[in-house]
């Protein structure tokens, strides 16, 4: 038995598209302890969202299909659960917040109604109790005049406030895990900071574990204890936040960190960016998917796909090259 709250093993998800079968997630494994915050980073299209949606059984099928893997949560495999079973988990034990607060709330239903729904469904409250609790939840996420605003519609809220509502909704049934899929990407910087502060505060108060997806390493650094870096539907590096920032080991991570603007930069260094774009995979990768963009790439990188190897305690990397020496590992 693992001591993980969520233990994902060998997850593979594909989509049937007109151009062929798209391999979005190609064998992802990670674990998350109770109360821990895990950051997930990677460029657009590397499979972050699909991984999390697969865990919650929210992949549209067809065209999507989970080909392999399991996701153990409290001793049950989420991947094998029936629809009825996984619905008991969604919203109740795992809450989810999405990227764009402008589109993730239903425009024709009141905020109150949308907040009450999970409470009535999972907690068994009646309409009146749920409505009182909904007001408390809004207050908890820092929305003034919470009671009066229950009858408002999403378009009467600003983007930041809507994301607060989404967070309140995801946390309404006190889940053990909150999955946040780029919740601040669509917001401007000051609002971003406010939402991060809110999440930190709620984490202290409620103690839930968090999976925080972002393509911004800076955002993740301020929040997570551990980070996984994804590329081509695979995890290519995993480490504690401090370790990752101090000793980035995979060429891709090094590139990502290089493209992060630093406030403490001594001189005006040119912002480094990785050339090329992430692959769209119509076959399960048999070589390292990053090789085409990698300046360390060796012959082996084009032939075999490296597995995650432990390079130091709690730090795992999938790369044939030792980037410190530039030679084979």
């Amino acid at each position: 038995m693992s001591n993980y709250l969520l233990d994902v093993q060998g997850l593979e998800t594909t989509f049937k598209t007109p151009d062929g079968v798209l391999h979005a997630v190609n064998g992802v494994s990670f674990g998350l302890k109770e109360g821990e915050t895990l950051g997930v980073v990677g460029e657009s299209g590397c499979g972050k969202s699909v991984t999390m949606l697969s865990v919650l059984g929210l992949i549209p099928s067809p065209p999507g299909e989970i080909k392999a893997g399991k996701a153990m949560f409290f001793g049950h495999d989420l991947v094998k659960m029936t629809n009825a079973e996984i619905r008991q988990v969604r919203g109740a034990q795992i809450g989810m917040v999405f990227q764009d607060p402008m589109t993730s709330l239903n425009p024709v239903l009141t905020i109150g109604r949308q907040l009450e729904e999970p409470l009535m469904l999972h907690v068994g409250m009646n309409k009146k109790q749920a409505s009182e609790r909904a007001a408390e939840l809004l207050e908890m996420v820092g929305i003034p005049n919470a009671k009066d605003r229950l009858s408002d519609y999403p378009h009467q809220f600003s983007g930041g406030m809507r994301q607060r509502v989404m967070i309140a909704m995801a946390l309404s049934c006190s889940p053990q895990l909150l999955i946040a899929d780029e919740p601040t990407t669509a917001l401007d910087v000051t609002i971003q900071a406010q939402i991060m502060d809110l999440v930190k505060r709620l984490r202290n108060e409620l103690g839930m574990a968090i999976i925080w997806i972002s393509h911004d390493l800076g955002v993740v650094a301020g929040l997570a204890q551990r980070v996984i870096v994804m590329y081509g539907g695979l995890i290519i590096e995993e480490a504690s936040v401090n370790d990752l920032y101090a000793n980035p080991t995979h060429p891709y991570t090094i590139g990502l960190l290089g493209s992060l603007p630093r406030v403490d930069a001594k001189e005006r260094t040119k912002l480094y960016s990785i050339e090329g774009s992430p692959p769209v995979l119509y076959n399960k990768p048999t070589a390292c998917p990053f090789a085409p963009r990698c300046k360390w790439a060796m012959e082996r990188c084009w032939k075999e796909n490296p597995a995650l190897e432990t390079v130091s305690p709690e730090h795992r990397v999938a790369c044939w090259v030792d980037t410190k020496t530039g030679r084979a590992r």
Binding site: L58, N83, V89, T103, S104, L105, N106, V108, L109, P118
Partner: protein, 354 residues
């Protein structure tokens, strides 16, 4: 919400004003001699008589004077009796039907209303229901069938479909009769023992407790209802389906699923209300289509409603009757579009609260 409705209602007279200008403009294509026939029943004996009538009704006056007169008619200074004036319901005299146009509408419109109300039911409920079911079963056999059905529906003109139906069920199989009601019942209906509560035969027959008449009336109406509703069914199905498919891809639908709602609730409580917005707009447009369909359907089935009457009058160059019906149809369109607008606001808070 109330201010929104009031604003809409205030627009009604403005639009109607535009409609009257348009129709009056069409009237001006006729020369005064033709226009004089709006006011008279008998053919005048001599040219002098006609001239006198033209002067009497002011058909040689400036246009705005004539327009005003057309709107309100005029009052005989001696008898104090008003004559003419569309605002007072005087649409002129129908030469081909030998009765005032207003009476003609009053007699024929209930028949048309009877038909369209029965047609709207299947259009809205079956069309929308099929559309939602097809979207939910995207690319499954049910969806494929629905698509074929709607392609046939939108590509087959009403008159072709109507004639096919007429040929098959009326001529070949002899299952359903054309017309309004069987002769034996038509006597009862016009007798004193039958009360006309609404003038809609299908409803009145039930209110009179005459289920046999109701069945007979429905037997006469089944084919027209089918024909009239078929095209709109198909259109509603298509629009509902595509709008629902689009809605099901929205992020808030994923949010609803992520909350643990059942697929039923996700579809009917979260997706459907949003998918209905374009369908409501379509409903506004399809009223126009439905009225066009009425003309064809009623003509094909020889059904005594305003559509068939207008078509017959047009064929006999009875301009006054056609204009009267046009004005009346314009009124119906304006009113029904206001209803659709209000309905739209009712389901979309962004419209209602802005």
């Amino acid at each position: 919400m109330t201010t929104y409705i009031i604003r809409r209602l205030l627009l009604v007279p403005v639009i109607l004003f535009g409609v009257t200008i348009l129709i009056f403009g069409m009237l001006q294509f006729l020369d005064p001699v033709e226009r004089v026939s709006m006011y008279i029943r008998d053919t005048p004996k001599s040219d002098a008589q006609i001239e006198a009538l033209i002067t009497k009704y002011g058909l040689d006056k400036p246009i705005y004077v004539q327009y005003w007169k057309w709107l309100v008619g005029d009052v005989d200074p001696i008898t104090n009796v008003r004559s003419g004036g569309i605002l007072f319901g005087d649409f002129g005299y129908s030469r081909t039907n030998s009765q005032p146009v207003a009476d003609l509408i009053k007699n024929r419109f209930p028949n048309t209303l009877d038909l369209t109300l029965w047609a709207i039911g299947p259009v809205i409920f079956v069309g929308i229901w099929l559309g939602i079911q097809a979207a939910v079963r995207h690319n499954k056999p049910f969806d494929q069938m629905a698509r074929i059905f709607s392609i046939i529906g939108t590509s087959l003109p009403t008159f072709v479909f109507g004639l096919l139906v007429l040929m098959l069920f009326y001529a070949n199989l002899g299952w359903f009769p054309p017309g309004r009601v069987s002769d034996e019942f038509s006597k009862i209906i016009s007798s004193a023992e039958f009360t006309n509560y609404t003038k809609l035969l299908s409803i009145d027959s039930l209110l009179n407790g005459r289920f046999d008449i109701f069945l007979d009336v429905m037997k006469h109406m089944v084919l027209p209802i089918l024909t009239l509703s078929y095209i709109s069914w198909a259109t509603f199905l298509r629009v509902t389906r595509s709008s629902m498919l689009e809605t099901l891809r929205m992020e808030y639908v994923t949010t609803a699923r992520a909350k643990g709602l059942s697929e039923r609730d996700v579809i009917h409580k979260h997706a459907r209300p949003n998918a209905m917005l374009p369908v409501t707009t379509l409903a506004g447009f399809s009223i126009v289509g439905l009225l066009g369909g009425v003309v064809i359907t009623e003509t094909v089935f020889n059904y005594p409603g305003i559509g068939a009457t207008a078509a017959r009058s047009a064929a006999q160059l009875d301009v006054i009757t056609v204009l009267g019906f046009t004005l009346f149809t314009g009124l119906i369109l304006v009113v029904s579009n206001v209803i659709v607008d209000v309905l739209y606001a009712f389901i979309d808070p962004r419209v209602r609260l802005s």
